[in-house]
Amino acid sequence: MNNRDHSEQLARDPSFTAYENRLIARFRQGETEALGALFEMHADRVYAYSRHMLRNKEDAEEVTTETFVKAFQHALSYRAEGAFTAWLFRIARNLCLDRMRQPCLTGLEPAYLDDLCDDKSTEQQTETKVVVNQALEMLHEDYRMILMLCDIQQWDAQEAALIMDRSLPATKSLLYRARRALKELLKSSWNEDKLQDEM
């Protein structure tokens, strides 16, 4: 299990939420160790999300840093403790959107082709990975965002609605349209024979 799966599994655990709430309470009382623990708990998820949205390592690192700076800056006035992580992601989402609206300064990375090819993968596995990641990159930013939240990072629709600042029905409708758009891209990337194998 990699770190990301592990942290996603942890985030679904009620005792984890209680632990997180205690950390936030401790942070508010001025314990700096709690700040470190909160950062370590969420840094990878915020970074992975930002990296997929911005498609660039430097931008994703900067947005991750800014997200935590803002979160800790406002943590003292923030009240809804249960949804701290959703709130954190809402900050990250807004920062990503700000950056995506700016003219592209750093440039996009080519679809991680090198990262995707490791020695252990078969040619077919590598090809599938490339096709899936390119499809995700080609999607409209709202589609990419909702798929990241609901299908990859496993937020439930209610939490995603909070992060995306949309109603629950609008969030679900966006998710369904995003899945269909992804499906169409995957279909068009594979010829019929391949489609039979993959689909």
């Binding site: 840094a43 700076v69 800056q73």
Partner: protein, 100 residues
């Protein structure tokens, strides 16, 4: 219900958000309808391909170390500036830097 009506419900079905009665009726329809059945299969397959193949990005230890140190030092400066000016809103120097 006709096939077109079921097609509208496919996304909700794939999302496991359809109520129990409709789920059972949908499953019955899927047994006899190749088009809807293919649609359900390809949607589910797309989502699982995405989950299984999406590039997993992680921060580097260097980034975490550097950022944590910066967050802690900014936090400490923020706290000390609060104790100096008691009733002002707690602000991190990071943002003050940016506003200059």
């Amino acid at each position: 219900m006709r096939c077109e009506d079921w097609q509208i419900l496919i996304d909700t079905y794939v999302d496991n958000s359809l109520d129990e009665t409709l789920t059972l009726r949908m499953e019955k329809h899927l047994l006899s309808c190749a088009a809807c059945s293919y649609e359900v299969h390809s949607l589910r397959q797309s989502v699982s391909l995405l989950k299984a193949n999406v590039e997993s990005f992680e921060t580097t230890p260097q980034y975490r170390e550097r950022t944590l140190a910066a967050l802690l030092s900014e936090h400490q400066q923020g706290v000390s500036s609060i104790s100096q000016e008691n009733n002002t809103q707690w602000t991190l120097p990071f943002n003050l830097e940016k506003e200059k």
